[in-house]
């Protein structure tokens, strides 16, 4: 039996879909069986980020409404042999056609076939969010180093904690700008972690390569020279239980903090 993990944020546009695509690709390339589920009904774009749009024939709403069986709707990513699949969101239906029971049924089935079911959650904390988080075993909360984003993440963490998931929520700080942190014009990593008080899974820099990659239907982890790609690879390894120190700010004075988080001396 695999585990289901929802990628969520509260605030929109902080990198949930990018995170879902990248960590899923890495896990698949490491030999794990991974299925991504796009629950952002009506605004689907996980398929586009992965360059799989043309392959989508059926979507999750077709499955929920019993027009097709689940296996017919799974889109295989040919770059990862038999390891990476996508269950696409519907572009046409509105979000209320999916109820919690059908989502639970689908995710439970997928957990039997896959090691990881990674759920891309819509922004906000309403209907779609509720559906996604109630079926998940754990959550990744994505935030940007901005006040509004951190505040919404806090709101989401509060809701997640009250649901008593088997795995505590973990944090990814995305679109970090090194220069702004050094200039003191951006929130600092340790301030964000101290505020939210959940384990830090990784920090991803803001990088043109991420946008370029998703525009060409590739994930940035396939770019060996990308810092962001490197961070996503580390995040996937950490999800598998490896302890890899955070290294992106090795050149700053914050090393002590990182070693505290991961219990390691650098």
């Amino acid at each position: 039996m695999g585990i289901s993990i929802v990628v969520t944020s509260g605030k929109g546009g902080v990198g949930k879909t990018t995170t879902t695509a990248n960590i899923s690709s890495v896990l698949a390339s490491l030999g794990k069986k991974v299925c991504m589920v796009d629950l952002d009904i009506g605004l689907r774009n996980l398929d586009a980020v992965l360059g799989l749009t043309n392959r989508v024939v059926y979507d999750i709403v077709d499955v929920a409404q019993n027009r097709v069986v689940l296996s017919q709707a799974l889109v295989r990513d040919p770059r990862f042999e038999d390891n990476l699949y996508l269950l696409a969101a519907s572009q046409f239906a509105d979000k209320y056609v999916l109820d919690q029971d059908s989502v639970r049924r689908i995710v439970t089935y997928l957990k039997q076939r896959f090691d990881f079911v990674i759920i891309d959650c819509p922004a906000g904390i309403e209907y779609g969010f509720q559906n996604a988080v109630t079926v998940a075993d754990g959550a990744i909360v994505v935030t940007n180093p901005e006040l509004a984003s951190v505040s919404d993440a806090d709101r989401v963490v509060g809701i997640l904690e009250s649901m008593k998931m088997p795995i505590t929520p973990h944090l990814i700080i995305n679109r970090v700008r090194k220069n702004m942190i050094n200039e003191g014009t951006s929130m600092r990593i340790d301030d964000i972690v101290n505020h939210l008080r959940i384990p830090l899974l990784g920090v991803v820099v803001d990088e043109d390569e991420v946008i370029a990659a998703s525009n060409s239907g590739k994930t940035v982890v396939s770019d060996k020279n990308s810092d962001a790609g490197h961070s996503y690879r580390n995040i996937a390894h950490r999800m598998l239980g490896e302890s890899i120190p955070l290294d992106i700010f090795n050149d700053t004075k914050k090393v002590g903090f990182f070693s505290r988080v991961f219990g390691r001396k650098k």
């Binding site: 709101r155 509060g158 505020h195």
Partner: protein, 220 residues
């Protein structure tokens, strides 16, 4: 022993309603007793009575009936109706209102914790979160959200501790918004209370006794 007895004491006149008596009968006797006092309508002084009900607890209805008996005579007035016993529910509420709760958790954006009585807050109150209680609030943790003491109308409640990062302090119905302009007077060892202008004031903890004595003088 008769159903109703009139006594003079240093607190003034006291009417004792024997708690072993039948209430209806006692009521009748009370009326007779008042009539017997021969209260002249020329006398301008209003005489006040305290009614003691012993180990009987009058219901709301019964209290009303007693009061209406007295209403017919403008020359006399009920000061208070006192019983030796208390309603169980009232007692429980009283106990709740007087207890001190210790809270240690993280209160996150969108969450709201509500208490009764005094609260010792050792946790973390995030921006967008709120803690509220009917009594006073003692803050030793970090607060960035809204702190409400004396909810909804207890103006003698106060908020103690390090309050400079809070978003708002509320006591009873008074709201103080913390801005850059007033944050620096809210360092540690401060307390916030409702002053004589019915607005929130902040003072040093060492002046607490003095301030509270002043305010007690006002309310008495």
């Amino acid at each position: 022993m008769s159903n109703v007895t009139l006594k003079g004491s240093k607190e003034g006149f006291v009417v004792i309603i024997n708690d072993g008596s039948d209430f209806e009968q006692a009521l009748k006797d009370l009326k007779t007793l008042i009539l017997k006092q021969n209260i002249g309508s020329t006398d301008d002084d209003v005489i006040q009575f305290t009614i003691k009900t012993g180990n009987r607890l009058l219901t709301k209805e019964q209290r009303k009936t007693v009061k209406t008996v007295f209403k017919n005579y403008p020359q006399i007035e009920i000061k208070d109706i006192i019983s030796n016993v208390e309603d169980k529910q009232d007692v429980e509420e009283l106990l709740k209102a007087n207890k001190m709760t210790i809270e240690t958790g993280i209160v996150r954006s969108g969450q709201k914790l509500e208490f009764e009585g005094d609260v010792l807050f050792l946790g973390v109150l995030h921006e967008g979160a709120k803690i509220s209680t009917t009594g006073s609030m003692y803050i030793l943790g970090q607060v960035e959200g809204i702190v409400q003491a004396g909810y909804p109308d207890n103006t003698s409640a106060a908020i103690f501790g390090n309050l400079e990062n809070a978003a708002q302090l509320r006591i009873a119905d008074v709201i103080e918004i913390i801005t850059e302009d007033n944050a620096d007077k809210l360092h540690n060892h401060q307390f916030a209370y409702i002053d004589e202008m019915h607005s929130i004031s902040v003072d040093d903890l060492q002046d607490y006794k003095e301030v509270m004595n002043e305010s007690r003088k006002r309310t008495v």
